[in-house]
């Protein structure tokens, strides 16, 4: 987060600082409480999850290894990553292309078509699930990466966001490029895209997160356990081991949680930068 705007005004001292620290600590404890209890539960050997839920018994990492192996979490995580990456990349590409068309190109019916695009944002995914499953089924794409990704390769949201930024491109720039003989694709590549990079970053992060979090769709179209994503895989794990080995399930939950936390740590700056300069602030 940028510090260049900090003045002494922002820095509480003395009792105000202590008070603020205190408040921050209390809130942090509350926010982290569910995570803490999950870690404790995972660490309890012999399934003694009932006893003393706030204090760990021992520090055994075996349970994490077991959850990884028996829960096939490695495979599920791979599936989630593949699906999320494909969808994110595809959404960026298709959104940039259609945003360019709607912002820069001229053709009859452009505005009407754009409104139609926007209208699809209003359609909840539930209204399309039954039919989409049938479509995927008849294409033979159940239990496949295609089935998990293809319905989400385009989004009107991304189109909208990026179009907003493209609209700020001055006409003269485009005309000058045309005079120089640069075609649309070249203009796109060399001028337009670099301009919207932060917005793309924000859009990509949101797309990645929301695809990573998908629960209903993977549940619906996977009947072979190998193709579960991490979310539907966690459900399988909790159903098959939730009774006799809750510590295993909790370990699986932690395994699903940690990588994103790490990614968050690394990409925090970019994420915020993208969100502040992108379409969020009008």
């Amino acid at each position: 987060m940028s510090d260049d705007r900090v003045t002494t005004f922002d820095t509480p001292t003395g009792w105000r600082a202590v008070g603020r620290y205190g408040l921050l600590v209390v809130v942090s404890v509350i926010v982290l409480f569910p995570v803490y209890t999950t870690v404790i539960a995972a660490l309890k050997p012999g399934n003694k999850v009932l006893v003393n839920p706030l204090v760990p018994d021992a520090f055994t990492l075996d349970v994490f290894r077991d959850a990884w192996n028996e829960g096939s979490l490695g495979r599920y995580m791979l599936n989630s990553i593949v699906v999320a990456v494909i969808v994110t990349v595809a959404q960026v590409v298709t959104s940039v292309m259609s945003a360019y068309a709607f912002a820069i190109l001229e053709f009859p019916g452009r505005d009407v078509l754009f409104l139609a695009f926007l209208a699809t944002l209003l359609v909840p995914v539930e209204a399309t699930l039954v039919v989409n499953r049938q479509t995927i089924d008849s294409l033979g794409w159940l239990n496949s990466y295609q089935g998990l990704t293809v319905p989400f390769l385009a989004t009107a949201f991304g189109t909208f966001l990026i179009r907003q930024v493209f609209l700020t491109l001055p006409r003269d720039l485009r005309d000058a490029a045309a005079i120089d003989g640069v075609g649309h694709l070249g203009f796109l590549r060399h001028v337009a895209v670099p301009l919207v990079r932060p917005t793309i970053g924000a859009m990509a992060s949101l797309a990645f997160l929301s695809t990573w979090n998908q629960y209903l769709w993977p549940n619906l179209i996977t009947t072979e356990n190998d193709m579960n994503t991490l979310q539907s895989g966690l459900r399988v794990l909790s159903q098959s081991s939730g009774v006799d080995r809750p510590n295993l399930v909790m370990a699986g939950v932690i395994i699903a949680f940690l990588p994103i936390v790490v990614v968050l740590l690394v990409f925090q700056r970019q994420l915020v930068r993208g969100l502040t300069s992108g379409g969020v602030k009008g």
Binding site: L50, R133, G140, S240, V243, D244, P246
Partner: protein, 505 residues
Amino acid sequence: MSARRRVAVALGACALLAACRSGDSLLQAGNDAPPASSTAPPPTAAPGETLAPTTTAPRATTTTTPLASLPPCPVDALDDVTQPVQITFWHAMSATNETALAQLTDEYNASQSKVRVRLENQGGYKQTLDKYVQSSQANRPHVVMLPEYTVQQMADSDSVIPIGACLEASGYDTSPLLERALRTYQTEGVQWSMPFNVSVPVLFFNASAFEEAGLDPADPPVSLEELRAAAQAIVDGPGNRVGIAFDSGVDSGGGWFIEQWFARAGVPYADNDNGRSAPATRVLYDGELGVELLSEVQSLILDGLAVTVGDNPGGQDALLKLADPQQPAVMTIATSAAIGTVKSVLDGGLIPGITSEQLGIGPMPGPGDVASAIVGGASLYIVADKGDAQAAAAWDFIQFLISAQSQSTWAAATGYIPISEDALELDPIRTTYATDPRFKVAYDQLLAGPSEATRLGPVIGPMLEVRTVTAGAVAAIFNGADVATALRDAAAQANALIAAYNARN
């Protein structure tokens, strides 16, 4: 302020909603004529007698389907196979049962080279059923394990090869198999599936708590009067204990157990001989027996002798109530399929204060003085149109699973009832039954029950949905609602479901 405006709009919308509500069920949407709702409860027999079959407007279809009109079972197709045939098996087992099934499958795969079976755990009976019906034939597995209430639905689905065809084509000797288990999965004169994991409800109880309350763990309550007396002794006894934990789950206290009680009392649950002589058109549980049974359970709860653990979505909540540190229940009714898992959980030390030796298993308490039960659990279907070699492979695998040795191993590990009587003479179940009588309770209870087809429980098309509405009524009753009204409303909804199903099939 925008917040204030939003609240105002929300309140306005709520008022509008309340005014627009029609009071009808979603299941009636679009229907023009309301179905004939039973305002007077249908005639019922006293427990122990059976009714003459009531015939209400039967469906136009015949009730016997000739085997020749159904897909054949190519039992010899494996003979010419050069490469191993891969087949998938969708199942819904969890915990200990899943481990046992995996072991059996590995054993089968290792014992021959023509068939390779791959297990796919779909996460639960409902999920398995949903995935099956939602998929096109090409995406269905070769063998699927589906719960006992799906018989009519599978028969109407035109998607399976009836096991009867395989039995006939291969001349399989079914005499060692439990006749009542086979009959449970027959309708329209056809054996649709092969029973594999047979379970009945049993009483789980804390034997040491029994002793502390002055009860004999070797003589658990069988009739409802004995149950009340035992619960009273427990509540009056030491510790802050409750007699019994009930649940209103769809596959347990809210649905399945009710069917079991009706079968035990010899009263039909649905018309047309429980749907066996012709497809059922309505349920009959809002009659005298239903009101009597559920009033008794309701009074147990209201008198503080019993508690309800609610909907039990995972199936474990009633059992977990036995482990509650503050106010445990001493008894609960749950499926015998859980015996293996519960034992291993207790052995693993999950529940402090209860060891697996202290776990008592008794027959399910219910109407009448004799403990009996009907077949529950799941069965195996061979899916059609998947190729001849695959169908033969599926049949070969099923034969392995129902063989005496497999059933013996399976029953000993899980608590399911072996469907092959020859299995009782083989280890490990022979030793288990001899040394640990708890495992045998379910078996004895099943054999004490009826074996005529019409008394083997209801066969209804949309059985799971019917159970769901029944469970809703049971939950309301547990919360103190008027029993007769709750049952009547549920029956009306169930009849609507059945009517819609019959219209589509």
